[in-house]
Amino acid sequence: MPDQGQSDEGGPPPSGSTVTKDKPAGGHRRADNKMAGWLPSVTVTFASIALALLVGAVLILVSDREVIESFSYFFSYPWDAFRSSASAIGESYKALVTGSVGSGGAITATLERAAPLICAGLAVTLAFRAGLFNIGAQGQLVLGAICAGYVGFHYDLPPVAHVVAALAAGLAGGALWGGLVGLLKARTGAHEVITTIMLNYVGAALLTYLLTKESFQQPGSDNPRSEKVAADATFPELLGVHSGILLALLAAVGVWWLLERSTVGFELRAVGANADAGRTAGMSVAKVYTLAMIVAGLLAGLAGAQQVLGHQDSLTANFGGSIGFDAITVALLGRATPLGTVLAGLLFGALSTGGLAMQASAASTPLALTQVLQALIVLFVAAPALVKAVFRFRESDDGGAVMAKGWNS
């Protein structure tokens, strides 16, 4: 099967195991032994992407009417089948690449798509490192957007103060929703998986409710759509991209510092690795849980604020899409490290903008294919043993048991 698409992606030949693992310089910590097996071996990551694209290629073939028809007379004229297959795969993947990074506009779209994914992904990452599984980024993001949006369109403030106030409101909204989970976990032991799932729904219902209220709706309209945020309250643009991506990168650096360089971060990781040991060492597990969820909510709130403040948007019932859920995949693909989350966020941003282009391309590949691709990439990255078996890598890397533990540290 010819597979033109892959060369477009610029993936390295899987045999090249010359790329070494990039480790952050963190020599003074003893926990590094664990980190080494944890960080994605770049080779395996690229091989995973290639493998996922390969499976995606098969799905493209299946979905293309012309290809299926050409296979019906495969034995009498096989060349036709090959040609149409190659063109379908080529068209699709070319659209994926050009649609995500092929032009200035495409790169802008990718970055703006990636920014909230990175922020929400960091929210999942941070909680994960404290041993909490935060499925609630969606709800925290919605609350953040509600607060940021309300300040954005309801109040009349001077230019710089307005955007700062709206952003702060968004952060506070997210932090409130996240902190509630942490507090409940710390005080009553309510499992965060349950409370975050439930609060996602509560947040969504709250948004729909508010959108029926007059103080939220556009004047003179009955539609469930809020006013647009004021121009003062939107993010300034840099080179055509709103500065949300800068905030996302800043947030990533902040999370890195918090996790790797601060005392609080040390406690957070210690409790995440083994809550009982942390408690024995005199750390307040309750405090760590609450704090971790507050900061996680803050980050998700930032993602929500970006969604409304980025482009002078109005709130609608489903403005958030599934960012909060995609964020879980982003964080897991990034192996719960800030740098990994940023890269994974960029990749997913590119995949989702490219996916739209694929749908619009001549091959009209269904949008759902991107979802399958995303799932497969994460799956293969998380299963290095499988990827190595497929490509017959020789290097030994025990990155297999990534964060083996699940529910309660």
Partner: protein, 433 residues
């Protein structure tokens, strides 16, 4: 009050000295006092003397509704809760069965008064009657129970299953396709089972063979199932003729069990349902019995708690885990089938709309025990059913009502379930050393 008489004898001096106990008393008493105050508010604010209810049968021109006197009922409930609050302050409600029963009484009293309040003083010509929430409860809870059973089986064997939603989606889609192809809803159930077991096989392969982190894996499988079902749905052409063969399945018929279905109040809700609901009852019994009464069940639990010890006595840890996960797929696939052949018919994008995660919450809320998880799912179903009913009444904005089952779950988890302990080896892949 029954609660007061049943309280066990405790040394009063011991209680006074324990500050945690005092705090607990104040918290519980205060909460109950708040509930009582709410009920008295209902009692005070209601103007209508009577509300009407109809618990069995359809409302027709000739049906006579039951009558409920609003003020006496709310007053009695309020006094009851007030008494419970006083008992809590005095430390008469201790942990254990007494707490459970008194909380149940308080909960029912509060919900009853709330419903009466919602149905009273409506300014409409055609007064709605309070209807039986149980049929809705079972309709909503059936897939949740099945999903929760699947979750319990996997996690008791030591493999976290976040992918219940993925199993639901795959089950729903393939149930619809198979039922459409064969024109038999029963065959659709089989299709759902096969799809559920298929996702289970992926879960088992990647968690046991390739040692992938199981939370990651679960999330990925959900995304994968969403993508795959959406993708395949897009492949079904929109021509009515072809569509009829692929995504227009017949639905399961209601089967009334003679005798039982004529029982008042519960008969219609529990015993005039589709075969899927009866399969759900059977599944609860089967999973509970297998898990706690058979040798295989003991092995499942042992590999979930201490795989090394299990291995030492000669139990094949990986094999048992494979079996448990595949077996779980049967139930999750059946649960998924509910969303197509069991209720609406054809498959829509995201047919199960996140209910797999609610089943997951039920697993945790039920402390990884099939029976308790079933109760958790039924609780959620009951709350949702009540919500759907009150939405029709229009006293409270329906957008706000939407959140009540979720809020109720948070309150129940935070207030009564509290800290839970998962199976000790849940989420840990077993590598022989």
């Amino acid at each position: 009050m029954s609660t007061a008489t049943k309280a066990p004898q405790v040394d009063p001096a011991l209680q006074v000295r324990d500050p945690a106990e005092t705090q607990r008393r104040i918290k519980m008493g205060g909460t109950l006092l708040l509930v009582a105050a709410l009920i008295f508010y209902f009692w005070w604010s209601i103007d209508d003397e009577l509300v009407y209810y109809l618990l069995t049968g359809e409302r027709t021109r000739d049906t006579e509704p039951g009558e409920l006197a609003t003020h006496p009922v709310t007053l009695v409930c309020g006094v009851l809760v007030l008494a419970a609050s006083a008992a809590a302050f005095l430390g008469l409600i201790r942990r254990g069965a007494v707490t459970l029963i008194s909380m149940l009484i308080v909960g029912i009293a509060f919900l009853l008064c709330f419903v009466i309040w919602a149905y009273a003083d409506l300014d409409v010509a055609f007064k709605p009657w309070i209807t039986n929430p149980l049929p809705g409860t079972f309709a909503i809870a059936t897939p949740l129970v099945l999903g929760a059973l699947a979750g319990c089986l996997c996690e008791r064997a030591g493999v976290i299953n976040v992918a219940i939603e993925g199993q639901f989606l795959a089950g729903a889609f393939f149930a619809s396709v198979v039922a459409s192809l064969t024109y038999s809803a029963g065959a659709g159930l089989l299709g759902g089972i096969v799809a559920g077991v298929g996702i289970s096989a992926m879960l088992a392969l990647f968690s046991i063979r390739y040692l992938v982190n199981q939370v990651v894996l679960g999330v990925v499988l959900v995304v994968f199932a969403q993508g795959l079902t959406n993708f395949l749905l897009d492949q079904i052409p929109n021509e009515p003729k072809i569509k009829a063969y692929l995504n227009e399945p017949p639905k399961l018929d209601d089967i009334a069990i003679p005798g039982l279905s004529e029982l008042p109040f519960i008969g219609e809700a529990m015993f005039n349902q589709t075969i899927l609901v009866y399969l759900m009852y059977a599944s609860v019994v089967i999973v509970t019995l297998i898990m706690f009464e058979t040798r295989w069940g003991l092995r499942v639990r042992s590999v979930g708690e201490h795989p090394k010890a299990a291995d030492t006595v000669g139990i094949k840890v990986r094999r048992i885990r494979w079996q448990a996960i595949l077996f779980a797929g049967v139930f999750a696939g059946l649960g998924g089938a509910y969303y197509t052949v069991g209720s609406t018919g054809s498959f829509d994008k995201n047919a199960s709309s996140g209910n797999g995660f609610i089943a997951l919450a039920a697993v945790i809320m039920g402390r990884w025990h099939p029976l308790w998880a079933t109760f958790a799912a039924l609780f959620f179903g009951f709350m949702s059913s009540l919500r759907d009913q009150l939405t029709l009444v229009n006293k409270i904005p329906s957008e706000l009502l939407t959140m009540t089952p979720y809020l109720a779950t948070v309150i129940a988890v935070a207030g009564f379930v509290g800290r839970v302990r998962p199976p000790a080896a849940d989420g840990e892949p077993y590598v022989k050393s």
